[in-house]
Each structure stands twice: as structure tokens, then as C-alpha cells.
């Protein structure tokens, strides 16, 4: 085959004559369009959804897209966003955690009790809360693995039990206020990235994207594998840079980029690395796709399940600390109400499959942006939470419906 039509220099992975490969920018764009038409939508529906939601709310209330409101949004989305990240972990392995809200409430209560009641240092309080979260996840994992109770039931039990623990920790008081001058509260309310540093971070992010892409392309070329063209990579990096600079400059018009938001984005990036570039991440995906096949491949399936539950509850605890810091108080309703469902909805709206094996951490980021936008927009319109529930529910349904349609199209076009 190689001696005929194809030149000897063809990359190892492009030698099959049935394969159409993109060459320049136009080809890349065309390939992207074909992917979307085949149902490989990626993050496109969510981004489209965000555009629609933002347009509607902006037309109803001109302050919605104001810099001030977006800064608030960037704060408010973090606690639920961290919870949603945890949910992505358990959804990846095809399980569910219904108790992230309660666990975050317990963690908030632990933080407050240790810091305020027992007057211990903040670090100790945070460590205790996160450790408690991880322990809860570990217990879930053991019950799930050894007893075989479905995760739905284990964590439903946890939802109730830990709500009880939270109320018991806060017994006798409605709320424990965190001191306003504590690092936690300042972090969650007052700390902003200096304007120049925010720009620098944006440039660094785009530069990092370019550099990793370039190194990757070079190692692939050296290994005689196909690599994306430099032109396309530079175009992507420039687009990213423009988007980031615009976002930063817009937020910088008022208070700027919150450190808490940076923390969240960093968490998303680190988790994304773990999911896509480590053996552990592969195992998560594999177990979610086919647990028996993973076991036969020598993966410690039980360990992977436990790790997913621990990660989820640990992140839930972190989210709880952030929620308490944001409010400057841990109260009996921290993490109750719609927090649980919002976290799960965010992960699913972002494109994480409920059936396991498919998802990304960016799903949590985008999904929580949708949910928090709806909530913020309705608050600005002075509409009470009844509307919020209905609209969030509808958006969830649309997102999952779209995903199902896309999945069918993907299967028909051989994109899994």
C-alpha cells in the first residue's frame, strides 16, 4: 500500500487510505463542523445555552451582564461548582452521590465549630473538615464495595444522616458566624487578583496552551505520528488569549478577578489533568465504561470506586467550607435545599453522562455557570425561587434531552 499512492513520509497513524485528514485551517474548521453534525457536540450545547440565557436576562435587566454582577457570579458559582466537580468524579465511574449537599453542610459546621467554638487555628479547622469529608467518602466506598448496596441508596442514607449530624453540631444555635477578618471570609469575599497579575495570568494561560500543544506536536512529529498544524494551534491560542483578555478586562472594570474563582479554575484544570493524563483517570473512565473488563485488565476496581467516592466527598467538604466562607457563617441550612440537585444538575448539564465513562471537569465549570446564571438573573428580576426551580428543571431536561439526541447521532456516525 505504501509503495503505491501514499508517499513514504505519511505519518504512522494516517496510512489507512479510508482516512480523511485535515490539512490547513479551513480543513480543521470543516472537520470540526463535521464532528458537530455527527453529534459529537462537546461543550457546544452548554456554551450555546449560556449565550441564550445571558441574552434573555440581559434583555430583561440591563444590569445582568454588568461587570459587578459577573464578579458576583464568579464568586457564587464556586461552592456549587466544587460540589459539581465531585459529582463528575462519581458519575465517571457510573455511580451517584446524593449527599454532597449534606456533606458540605457538615463540613461547614465542623469548620465553624473548630474555629469559633474551640478557637483553633483556621488551618486545623479546614483540615478537619476536609478529612471528615474524605472519611465519609471512604465509608461510602466500603459499604458499596463490601456490602454491595447501590450508591444511590448508600448516599441517600448519607443525605439524611449527615443532615442530622450537621444539625447536631450546630445544636442550640441557628448559625455560627465566622469572624470577618478571618482568612477564609476574606478569601471568599474580598480577595482579588491585582489587575496586572490577572492579565499576566491570562497571557500565561494562553501561552501554556500554546507551549503544551507545541511540545505535543513536536514529540508526535518526532515519533512519526500525525500532529495538528502549527498554524491551527497558534490560531486556537490567539482566540483563547483574546477571550481571556476580554474577560479579565471586563471584570477588571470593577473589582476584578476573585482569587476564589482562580482557585476553582485551577482545581478544574488540575482535575482535568488527572482525568485525561494519568493512569488513575484512565481507570476511572474504564471502570465507568465496563467494570468487569477493567477488573480483567488488572485494575483494582474496588479501589477506583473508593477513590471516586473519597474525591467526591472531599470536594463536597471543600465546597462546604467555601460556602460557609462566602456567607461568613455556617448555619443549619448550609448545603440543604437545592444545593444537592444543583450540583448534580450542573455536572449533567455540562455533558457528563449519567451512565458512566464519559465526562470532563469542564462540564462542572460550564454547568454551574448555567445554573448560577439562571439563579442570579432571576434574583435580579426579583422573582422568587419558585421560578428558579422550574427554569433550572427545564434547562436540565433540555440538556439531557439534547445529549440523548446527540448520543444517538454519535452512535450512528461511529463516534461512540
Amino acid at each position: 500500500m505504501t509503495s503505491l499512492g501514499t508517499p513514504a513520509a505519511t505519518a504512522t497513524d494516517l496510512q489507512d487510505e479510508r482516512l480523511a485528514t485535515p490539512q490547513g485551517i479551513t480543513d480543521n474548521v470543516r472537520a470540526a463542523i463535521r464532528r458537530v453534525r455527527d453529534g459529537d457536540l462537546g461543550s457546544l450545547p452548554v456554551i450555546g445555552g449560556i449565550v441564550v440565557i445571558w441574552t434573555i436576562f440581559q434583555s430583561l435587566n440591563a444590569t445582568f451582564l454588568s461587570s459587578t454582577n459577573l464578579v458576583n457570579l464568579s464568586f457564587d458559582m464556586v461552592p456549587v461548582g466544587v460540589l459539581a466537580l465531585g459529582i463528575v468524579c462519581v458519575l465517571m465511574v457510573g455511580q451517584i452521590d446524593l449527599s454532597v449537599g449534606s456533606v458540605s453542610g457538615v463540613s461547614a459546621a465542623i469548620t465553624a465549630v473548630v474555629m469559633v467554638k474551640h478557637e483553633q487555628p483556621m488551618v486545623l479547622a479546614v483540615l478537619a473538615a476536609v478529612a471528615a469529608g474524605c472519611l465519609i467518602g471512604w465509608v461510602y466506598g466500603q459499604v458499596f464495595n463490601r456490602v454491595g448496596v447501590p450508591s444511590f441508596v448508600v448516599t441517600l442514607g448519607g443525605l439524611l444522616a449527615f443532615l442530622g449530624v450537621q444539625l447536631w453540631l450546630l445544636r442550640g444555635q441557628n448559625a455560627i458566624n465566622l469572624p470577618y477578618d478571618s482568612t477564609l471570609v476574606r478569601f471568599a469575599q474580598l480577595w482579588f487578583v491585582p489587575h496586572w497579575l490577572a492579565y499576566a495570568l491570562a497571557v500565561a494561560a494562553a501561552g501554556g496552551f500554546l507551549a503544551t500543544g507545541w511540545v505535543r506536536a513536536r514529540t508526535r512529529r518526532r515519533a512519526e505520528l500525525s500532529s495538528s498544524s502549527l498554524q491551527w494551534l497558534v490560531t486556537q491560542s490567539l482566540l483563547l488569549l483574546a477571550a481571556l483578555l476580554f474577560a479579565v478586562s471586563y471584570l477588571n472594570r470593577t473589582r476584578g478577578v476573585a482569587w476564589m474563582f482562580v482557585f476553582f479554575v485551577a482545581l478544574v484544570l488540575v482535575m482535568n489533568y488527572v482525568f485525561t493524563r494519568t493512569k488513575f483517570g484512565r481507570s476511572l473512565c474504564a471502570v465507568g465504561g465496563n467494570a468487569e473488563a477493567s477488573r480483567r485488565a488488572g485494575i483494582d476496581v474496588r479501589g477506583v470506586y473508593t477513590a471516586a467516592f473519597v474525591l467526591c466527598s472531599g470536594l463536597a467538604a471543600t465546597g462546604g467550607i467555601l460556602a460557609a466562607s462566602r456567607l461568613a457563617a455556617a448555619n443549619q441550612s448550609t448545603g440543604t435545599g437545592d444545593v444537592n440537585l444543583n450540583a448534580i444538575a450542573a455536572a449533567v448539564i455540562g455533558g457528563t453522562s449519567l451512565f458512566g465513562g464519559r465526562g470532563s471537569t469542564f462540564a462542572a465549570l460550564l454547568g454551574v455557570l448555567v445554573i448560577q446564571s439562571i439563579s442570579s438573573g432571576l434574583t435580579l428580576l426579583n422573582l422568587d425561587s419558585s421560578y428558579r426551580f422550574v427554569i433550572t428543571g427545564a434547562v436540565l431536561l433540555i440538556a439531557v434531552g439534547l445529549d440523548s439526541v446527540a448520543r444517538r447521532s454519535r452512535q450512528a456516525h461511529g463516534r461512540g
Binding site: 504512522t12 497513524d13 489507512d16 494519568t278 477493567s294 477488573r295 483494582d300
Partner: protein
């Protein structure tokens, strides 16, 4: 085809030896008192009817099932294979009949599942190169490695599963109907591969319903019938009829009757009907 080296039952350097393996599933005795020996550089074909217990035997050997009774001896050392990971560590690689691939992962992720290079910073490039190399060796007709396995044809999947078993430099390879879904060229490649493994001194257990394939590569043929040993034959000297008789349990079996009918005249066949 080389001369058959091993005489039935009298293996010189046995790498794997099973004695009295039993496995029950509820009331069903899938395996009863099964013995099997595999020498280094030897291909043992395991044949038997549907439900004879061949796949169960393979799963016992690969650590998927733990046997209810019996012993497994690997290179003279009794082992207790209670997890697939342990079997991997002992150098046993398996191609399962149901392939055991993760449909949501792409081809290279499946090939390296559980044995990824550089666990904390996956070496995608090296893994992809090695994947192509392995797949080319098997004449795999897979256009791209970026698609999830769900998008591959049955034979392509089988090739992926076979390629995966070769990745870890095993000492014993178990192939459960490795050519069932393969095309002519790919089947020939797999048979070549089995011979290569044999010449490298590996022990190979191959399950197949295809007598031609069995006689082409196997040194010995072990027959299972209803979960029990039903004879071990020297592949070079045994006739297909003898194997079929051992598989079905009698010389007067449906296969023999069909063969007899083929040789008699069409008139006689009509009369028979």
C-alpha cells in the same frame, strides 16, 4: 508446520499444570476434575462443544474465577490466582471470548488498559506508536486509533483484544476463540502469531471450534466434554473424526452422519430423508 514436540501427557518442561480443577455455578458443574498440562514452547488446543466449560477453564486460569477445588502449578510453583491482576503479574495474558474491552475508551487506551506507560504523565506518543506496531503485526485493518472501541467492527475488536494480550511480554497466553470473528488474512496472521509465540518458548492455550486451525498450529488437543477431560491427543497423528468423536462423546454423531451423507449419492440421501 514443525514436528509435534511433546508426547501426550509427558511434557518435559511444564510451565502450567492444572490438577483436579472443579468449578460450580449453583447447581451446574461447569468443570469437574479437569487436568491440563502446557509445556514451554507448546500450543495446546482445548476443544469441546458449546457449554463444555472451555471459557470457564480460561477464566479460572486468568484469575477471573477462583476454582472450587484443584491446584494450579506455574513453573513448578503452586499458585492461587484469586484476581486477574495476580494472573497478569504471573505472566498470564488472556484474550477472552467476550473480549472484555471498554467500549467508551479509544483503541490505544484499551490496549494499554491497566498497564499504561508513565502512570502520572501518560506517554500517549509512545503508547500510540507501540499500538500501531502491534496492530500492524497482526495486519489489523483499523483506520484510526482515536475512535472509541464501540465504533469498531467485531473482527477489529478481536484484533485489539489479541494485540492487548501481547503487550506485557507474557509467558503463557490464553486465547479463547481468537479467530471467531476474523477475516481470512487476519486469521492467518493470528495463526502465524501463535507459531511465533510457540517458537519464542511461550506456553499457548488456544480454544477454537475450527478443526483446521487447531490442526494447523496445535501440538496437542485436549478435549473437554460436559466439564470433564475427554482425552488428550497428539495433533499430528489424530484424525478429525477422532476429535469430533471425543467432543460429541460417540462415533455415531451428527457430524459423522453428515459426512457419511455427503459421500453417498444424492438418491440415497433422498431415500434416507
Amino acid at each position: 508446520m514443525s514436528e509435534a514436540t511433546a508426547v501426550p501427557g509427558a511434557a518435559t518442561d511444564t510451565v502450567l499444570s492444572l490438577r483436579g480443577i472443579c468449578k460450580h455455578f449453583g447447581a451446574v458443574a461447569a468443570l469437574t476434575e479437569v487436568d491440563l498440562d502446557v509445556a514451554a514452547g507448546e500450543v495446546v488446543a482445548v476443544v469441546g462443544d458449546n457449554g463444555a466449560g472451555k471459557s470457564t477453564l480460561v477464566k479460572v486460569l486468568s484469575g477471573v474465577y477462583t476454582p472450587d477445588a484443584g491446584s494450579i502449578v506455574l513453573r513448578g510453583e503452586p499458585v492461587f490466582l484469586d484476581s486477574p491482576a495476580l494472573a497478569h503479574a504471573r505472566g498470564i495474558a488472556t484474550v477472552f471470548q467476550d473480549l472484555a474491552l471498554c467500549e467508551n475508551l479509544d483503541v490505544k487506551a484499551n490496549l494499554f488498559l491497566g498497564q499504561e506507560l508513565r502512570p502520572w504523565m501518560l506517554d500517549d506518543v509512545a503508547m500510540e506508536k507501540r499500538s500501531w506496531q502491534l496492530l500492524r503485526e497482526l495486519s489489523a485493518k483499523i483506520p484510526t486509533l482515536d475512535v472509541p472501541v464501540a465504533a469498531l467492527s467485531g473482527g477489529q475488536r478481536q484484533t485489539v483484544a489479541i494485540a492487548r494480550s501481547l503487550l506485557s511480554d507474557p509467558q503463557i497466553v490464553l486465547l479463547d476463540e481468537p479467530t471467531a470473528a476474523l477475516g481470512v488474512a487476519q486469521t492467518a496472521e493470528v495463526l502465524n502469531l501463535v507459531e511465533r509465540l510457540k517458537h519464542k518458548g511461550l506456553g499457548v492455550v488456544m480454544i477454537s471450534h475450527n478443526m483446521e486451525d487447531v490442526r494447523a498450529v496445535a501440538d496437542r488437543v485436549a478435549v473437554l466434554r460436559l466439564g470433564r477431560n475427554n482425552g488428550v491427543f497428539d495433533a499430528a497423528s489424530v484424525s478429525a473424526e477422532e476429535i469430533v468423536a471425543a467432543i460429541t462423546g460417540s462415533t455415531d454423531n451428527v457430524v459423522a452422519r453428515r459426512a457419511a451423507r455427503r459421500t453417498t449419492s444424492p438418491q440415497a440421501e433422498k431415500g434416507e430423508l
